[in-house]
Symmetry: C2
Subunit: 412 residues, 2 copies
């Protein structure tokens, strides 16, 4: 097939799949009584637990608003209403002891806190949700929530983490999980979109985040490690050797967007090499296909029981990464990788019977958990991937005459 | 085969296996520099991380002392010396901020705290280690450590848990994990052995623990649930429906020992029925053999990624439970279950090449993690199982004339 035909075929597949996936969440996840979303959904959408995980509440609000704002066929009042009900649920209940900003990790259906994590991630997804809600509603209350929480996040990460409640023990290494600068970089892009003032305010932060993420390239450029010391040295033991190929690929497209905003072709090439090609080379299972969940950089056996399982989100992040890499470089090898991952993903994770994707396969690709949503899987990675891929495929196809596409991309 | 022959054959197998397993830990796990034990050991015994997990330090000290004290061929100075070095490592380093009693979960090789858990389990294994060290050395310093920590544990569990640092959030259910009364019951037996004063002091506690464990039998006696409300009601959601068949079987033999001490034949029969036969019936994989790690009592899909994996310790606990049930009841069905589990376990978990057992198989029984030790697997469940089975088989075989054994047992 010609590249144009490939792009056209995938545009249709991802567009149709996005509609099916969103229909699943619209039908099964809304809580009409309290607002917010059920995310513990069985294969057929049945609610098997009514706990509300704050990460997933924030992500679903964000996803609904983003689709409402960017994809014409999703500009429907029921999406906006559900997003607002979810956002208002978060405003009422996410914080454990207002006015303090620390948010719960999980709430009861009616919003009472069940667990708190000593990390920044609930607050990050809260911020994404509020900023996107402001963009679609124009209600400044949401935006001031987003900006105030962002200030708190920056304070926790760069100045004083004590408000998170983490104990700093004498034997604990000062490790930086790659997720922390990744999430902040994601928020820098979120808040700075078409907002010159905030873009300027967070420009230095964006560079700092990118620099910190790049420190995770170790071993003379031959590996991305999930945890490094704050000064960029490799950490000892399992913690230091830990790899998460899907996470590296996600960091890849976060960094690629940063390189595009900065107009930095060297960074672009570095990111494609180190955060896309490298994690795929080491993370793709040569025996059964699919990306391993975890690896040990020295090839030792990881201690996580699920290390060899195939999870949905590393694959949706890989699809985004390779298609974005192709869009920006025109390198047909990246399009081939997109197709390889997307074919595997659509074949193994999609559930043609009930919609949405399975989340957890065993190493051989068999469904290990039949749930469609749970404590860590909600309405986020799948539709974000499908919507971003549809948008990128649209842009690639509209760049000009079919025959020109690869040439123009290659010459970019 | 006659029952006598079966018992004789298994006695030889478990005895030889115990020797091989202990040789593995003696050869690979000792830290001559700081005392204590490396437990992160690869398939061939190579140390892949030098962190020291306090649960596993305490358990290995206990195991060495117990074997030294009870099994003649292990009364060797190198076991005692290593146990003392491990115990002294714990005395020096386990507590995070002495004189407070809270212990770390994991320490650096030289004993600096890395992580603390807000639970009682590090302290429980610390207590087991200290009491057993006192029994083999006669050094009262160890015993006063054990008794003082026991008092602290009882205070945390029955009076005031605030010293554990757990946050009590408005939406958190007052759930009791079965592990808490199980561990305390285990300590009641440990401290009370041949010690009339402590046995009397903790007699009421033992009854309380047994009563709390029995509350986990739910659904009109048709299921053991891992978490229940403190007042014995079933909890809502995944937490309430959660089952762990291997843990129920372990509780089974803890309770059976309690019933023996109490001379309570009704409790004995109840325990064999509810904590041995029932968890096996629902927890044994009909397709691939082996005990599931986790289940949902309503047959829904658990949210834990590893739910269908086969772990070593539920199988070693099942071996103990069924052989003890057989020893106490004479019911040949329990001997058949022991043989069924033991055959599967020896076939799937043993590593004839390098010794010790693999810990983590996939649902189909294939080795998923090649490690022999890690953050949760040390020198404990396997040798405890083998030593207890050897002792029980010895006792069964010495009850009298071979031909009498089943009859005498059945008539007991």
């Amino acid at each position: 097939m010609e590249e144009w035909e490939i792009l056209q075929a995938w545009k249709e597949r991802v567009g149709q799949e996005l509609d099916r996936v969103m229909a699943f969440w619209m039908e099964h996840s809304h809580d009409p009584e309290h607002g917010g979303f059920f995310t513990c959904l069985g294969r057929d959408g049945q609610v098997y637990d009514d706990l509300k995980y704050v990460w997933l509440q924030g992500r679903q609000v964000w996803m609904y608003c983003r689709l409402y704002r960017k994809v014409k066929r999703f500009r429907r009042p029921e999406l906006l209403d559900s997003a607002k009900a979810g956002g208002d649920f978060l405003l009422r209940h996410a914080r454990v002891t207002p006015p303090e900003k620390k948010c719960a990790f999980v709430l009861t259906r009616d919003g009472r806190p069940v667990k708190v994590q000593r990390t920044i991630f609930s607050e990050c997804f809260y911020t994404m949700a509020m900023n996107e809600l402001w963009r679609v509603t124009g209600d400044v209350r949401y935006q001031s929530e987003a900006v105030e929480m962002m200030e708190q996040l920056v304070h926790w990460v760069r100045e004083d983490p004590s408000g998170l409640g983490q104990l700093r023990l004498p034997g604990a290494p000062s490790a930086e999980p790659m997720a922390v600068p990744m999430m902040l970089l994601c928020l820098v892009e979120q808040l700075g979109e078409a907002d010159a003032e905030l873009a300027a305010r967070y420009a230095e932060l964006g560079d700092w985040c990118a620099g910190r993420i790049l420190q995770h390239v170790q071993r003379d450029g031959q590996a991305v490690l999930e945890n490094v010391a704050e000064d960029g040295r490799e950490l000892a033991g399992c913690l230091g050797r830990h790899q998460n190929p899907g996470h590296a690929l996600e960091a890849g497209w976060f960094l690629l967007r940063h390189a595009i905003r900065k107009g930095d072709p060297d960074l672009r090439a570095h990111v494609i090499d180190k955060f896309m090609l490298l994690p795929f080379r080491s993370g793709w299972d040569p025996d059964h296909e699919g990306l391993f969940y975890f690896q040990d950089v020295d090839g030792l056996c990881p201690t996580q029981l699920e290390w060899a399982m195939k999870l949905w989100w590393p694959h949706s992040e890989a699809m985004i990464a390779f298609l974005m890499g192709y869009s920006e470089s025109g390198d047909p090898a990246l399009l081939r990788l997109f197709c390889q991952v997307a074919e595997y993903t659509f074949r193994q994770f999609r559930d043609p019977e009930y919609g949405e994707w399975f989340g957890y396969l065993n190493r051989e690709g068999k469904v290990a958990l039949t749930i469609k949503g749970g404590p860590f899987k909600g309405c986020f990675h799948v539709p974000r991937c499908l919507a971003m891929c549809e948008e990128m495929l649209d842009a690639l196809l509209s760049r000009g005459d079919p025959a020109d596409v690869p040439v123009r991309l290659g010459a970019e």
